[in-house]
Symmetry: C2
Subunit: 398 residues, 2 copies
């Protein structure tokens, strides 16, 4: 009999709360767990012992939490070093916390890993488990990450509507999508395409640096053919010198505690690209949007696949903790298309900590400006159901 | 027995296609209407006789159209003068078109009005009817406009999620929302607020110009009290000298054919406001998003009230055209809260043409930085159901 703690770290997602509820409902079933603490604002909340009693929440509250975007326990961008983690471990000892569930990305897996190693070294029996989440979909081992499908659904619905808008009032439309290093989320724009001439017509991801000349030539090619062009661009897109365009633009770039340059939330890249197209191609109607934080936090939009899997990942972490010392929850795909399904398994924290993955080559087209059918097959089931749409402009003239 | 034509003009919305389907289904019932033409790209398509046969569409296609954002017949930003309208009228005569249904905003009502007057002068029997649409909600006579409720729902869901995100990682968040002259859509951010300390904490609309000093003092006040601040700002917000901040920023402002400055689609205003808060208040975590075109085109998100009313407005236009010479469809509210409902009526084109309305004083708080309960009562039923959300950070410590 001992206490357990759960917390959420890093950038919120649309289903990180479903994972939290998965942890809570499974922990409530475990006779080995006395109290289940929720630490407010991640490791920062653990240090300060800012805990709430998660066993007291009603089923109605839990379902409401599971459907809410963002991190219901709050989050933190603190990147704990050894001294920080030692403080966390002291709190665990003081409160007799023997189960630690940490929902987050690869930095969170690393925090879990450090604390687990410290506990082992000093002979404190701790079960440390990482529950994956990230809209970037860039964690290793797992087939895909909870949080990605919902963000991908937002992107697909946004680009789908955007393409219809661009049909109604033709021109060039640029959509800047989150993703500093991995292009999975920007790639999800490809799911908006159901008709031959649907946008997005061009997709640029960080895995394929592109020169301004090539970018402009691509846009001009589509525009000459269709009289319009919808472009999905990752915020992390770079030139062939491997410096991102956003970095080139950001004279006063702000860096977060992890050393990542802050690109989201400003329209600089979108405005710059629109200016290039107007100025160098002489196209008059050029519009640009930066999707920003809506991609990870829009309320009331969840992928049904994603929310189900996120909750199950939370449950599995607790189940694994009853049998094993530490680990991270991962998913393996068991079928594709209509037979889509996943199996859950435990992987080592060291396999997930700090590392990331990129979009594999077979998901990117030869020209480096679009996604392949293999990518669509990979991403479509994660997104869940997308709306059907219709445009009448192509119907026969009378 | 004569032909009818329907077309869509101006900026697309999430339910302008529901109005189109309303026109189609009602026209299909009328024995007085032989052919129902859909003109592609509004008046531009009429001039070119780019018509499709709308009576041939299947019920499945019609339902898919009704659920799709954007203008399924395409749109146009052409602002027709007398000569242009004369050409349109010539096509009507040539094709024996006696019923003209034009779905759009106040500019479209004006086009309808001009063509109707021309037809009267030359003794051509034409029934010209305007069907209202605009996300800005700024048409006269009608209680509210089809298109507004759906855009308002998008804004409310976005700000609701954004506020939860800002609770998880506290700081200042600025959301720039569409609306050059009328603050109805920005005001809809107020619908995101369900708890006492929920954002948006500050709302700025064009009806209430504000100095940078007052804006910064407001933000500082909220930030000192709550440790965070979510702000909704209209793209048309101006200083007390009545020059909008966006205009001050836009050295190379692009104007559309109606003389409106193009503000949407760039992050300039959002970035400027974020910079002011960082620089002058010394707050470190300041983020800003410009919602852009997603507000009018996001696929798969419609307010159930809005889509129903938009469709009915289309039907009513056809019904009125069987009895009257011309007009615009308007709505009158018959009850509030749970008793919300509307009655439809015909109003004169001249009452709607070119004119606009602003947010009335009783909807804006005394400080000019928020909306009143009266506004929330007005806007909530138009939005339809909003998601329930939960944040656990405020639960008692253990």
């Amino acid at each position: 009999m001992a206490n357990a703690i759960v917390s959420q770290s890093g950038g919120p997602t649309g289903v990180i709360n479903a994972s939290l509820v998965g942890v809570i409902e499974e922990a409530c079933k475990c006779k080995d767990i006395t109290n289940l603490y929720g630490a407010i604002h991640a490791v920062a909340g653990i240090k300060k012992e800012h805990f709430i009693d998660l066993k007291k929440l009603s089923i109605d509250t839990l379902e409401c939490v599971a459907g809410s975007p963002s991190s219901a326990l709050g989050s933190s961008r603190d990147k704990p070093d050894e001294a920080y983690c030692a403080q966390v471990l002291e709190v665990f000892k003081k409160r007799d916390i023997r189960y630690f569930f940490y929902i987050g990305g690869n930095d969170s897996a690393n925090t879990c890993y450090i604390i687990n190693n410290m506990a082992e070294k000093c002979g404190y029996d701790l079960r440390a488990f990482h529950v994956p989440k990230t809209i970037d979909n860039d964690l290793r081992v797992t087939d895909h990450c909870p949080g990605y499908g919902t963000a991908a659904k937002f992107v697909a619905c946004a680009v789908m509507g955007d393409d219809l808008d661009n049909r109604a009032l033709p021109g060039v439309k640029i959509d800047v999508i989150m993703g500093r290093h991995a292009g999975f989320l920007t790639g999800a724009a490809a799911l908006a395409k159901t008709r031959e001439d649907d946008g997005p017509h061009l997709i640029y991801i960080p895995e394929r640096p592109v020169t301004m000349e090539k970018f402009l030539a691509d846009v001009e090619g589509v525009y000459k053919k269709l009289g319009r062009c919808v472009i999905a661009v990752s915020e992390g897109i770079g030139d062939v010198d491997h410096v991102t365009w956003a970095e080139k633009l950001a004279a006063n770039a702000e860096r977060d505690a992890h050393g990542n340059v802050q690109l989201s939330g400003t329209g600089a890249l979108a405005d710059f690209l629109a200016g290039q197209i107007k100025g160098k191609l002489g196209i008059k109607r050029v519009r640009a949007d930066t999707f920003g934080y809506l991609q990870r936090s829009f309320a009331g939009l969840q992928s049904e696949t994603d929310v189900k899997e996120a909750r199950e990942c939370g449950r599995k972490a607790v189940q694994y903790a009853m049998k094993e010392d530490n680990g991270s929850v991962a998913m393996k795909r068991t079928g594709s298309g209509a037979k889509y399904g996943v199996e859950y398994f435990r992987t080592n924290l060291s396999e997930v900590a700090e590392k990331t993955k990129s979009v594999p080559d077979e998901f990117i087209n030869k020209d480096g400006n679009g996604m392949t059918a293999a990518f669509v097959e990979y991403a479509a089931p994660l997104c869940g159901t997308l709306p059907r749409t219709e445009f009448l402009g192509g119907y026969p003239k009378v």
